[in-house]
Symmetry: C2
Subunit: 234 residues, 2 copies
Amino acid sequence: MTASRTARERVRAELTREITDIARRQLATEGAGGLSLRAVAREMGMVSSAIYRYFPSRDDLLTRLIIDGYNALGEAVEQAEAPVPRGDHLGRWLAACHGLRDWAVAHPHEYALLYGSPVPGYQAPVETVAARARDVTVLGAIVSDAHAAAALRPAGDTPPPPAEAAADAGNLRGLMPGLPDELVWRAITAWATLYGWVNLEVFGQLNNTVEARQPVFEHAMRVAATTLGLVSTE
Amino acid sequence: MTASRTARERVRAELTREITDIARRQLATEGAGGLSLRAVAREMGMVSSAIYRYFPSRDDLLTRLIIDGYNALGEAVEQAEAPVPRGDHLGRWLAACHGLRDWAVAHPHEYALLYGSPVPGYQAPVETVAARARDVTVLGAIVSDAHAAAALRPAGDTPPPPAEAAADAGNLRGLMPGLPDELVWRAITAWATLYGWVNLEVFGQLNNTVEARQPVFEHAMRVAATTLGLVSTE
DNA sequence: GAAAAAACGAGAGCACCGCTCTTGACTTGG
DNA sequence: CCAAGTCAAGAGCGGTGCTCTCGTTTTTTC
């Protein structure tokens, strides 16, 4: 009933952890394609077939890493946004953006696993979907809070929301409670800007083009916040 | 002196073309990881080592496909934007955006090769950089033309441009002649929105979330255009 | 027109990969 | 104490990118 019953279970949990740790390190250095069960086994002093006692296939190990990655990213965003006063919606948005970007720049291969091109031959199982929502939940809460506090600039000159996508907006409202369609789509557009920028940077599209990444990112996120309707608190 | 001198050169060009065609088809169906020199050779009725007479390595074949992909994407964007009257800057922007998205949705694996996570172990050579500029050149021309025609809404409420990135703005002005820094960064932000949205869609992040893709994309690009300062011509 | 040079396809082979199956030793619970 | 379950190890299958050698054929050179 306690944490670990038998000695066998304890050493099994320990070895499973060691496998994922080594795999994560290989992922960080070599990238997703360089993740090799045989290399992990070699580093553990095991024979390759022994790994299959712990992970039935390479894809299952990859799934474990993806879920861990989503959680690590989500936690990073949460921790970056948490210290900001709840009423400072623009500050919360910027903090969350920087939290996401900083984590992505620090863990480029893991970020690529989450938001980059799908790994060839790998089909993401349902388990990964639950973990994915963590970072976007933070973003959604900011927009919801700002709208509830009437701190969002009204529609004004923004184009009308797409009527054909009313059902989709309903789905998304789970992440952004209380928001009208027009604001849901403004928020999604801001997210596209956020993830789009991070993708451009992490995937190397800005090499030899933009060097002062941090200030330009900050500026872009401020522009996105303005479009979203977040106004400075001062 | 003519197009093809010897018979050997003619058949060599023909075989090279056949290799890239088969490789592109494999890339489209299996993805980048499923691209196998042996499979290409098998389909051609050749032995695997013979392929190396035409491409010294798998990476060189990949480079060829990447360059072809950039050109195909650039051409798609050009053709989508060309028919729009030059003075209708918003229409040109929207047409270019749809051209990019349509091509990406039609060729997801090729798009992933261009704008997704880098292929593990593959280092993009310099040849690919030249081809890359084609789509962004179209986008840059639209913004430049709009600014030259004084059709861009002035700064207004947008945040001040990052002073630390003045040198970067200078580099980027090659794509957007005549634009002040503030507009360069507004344009880059709009591009991040564009590529960010397409990435989200092509890489499957919108599955089970946004179904009415085309209208929502259209709306997002209109929002981005408004942020960029492009106003409707009517 | 014959000889030298270059290009070519085929084949064997190397080291690696994911994965399967069997074997023998060990731990656990009845 | 012994049967059941768990484990690491090893051999092996088919796949990969890539290298090297070996005849053959085509092109170039004299």
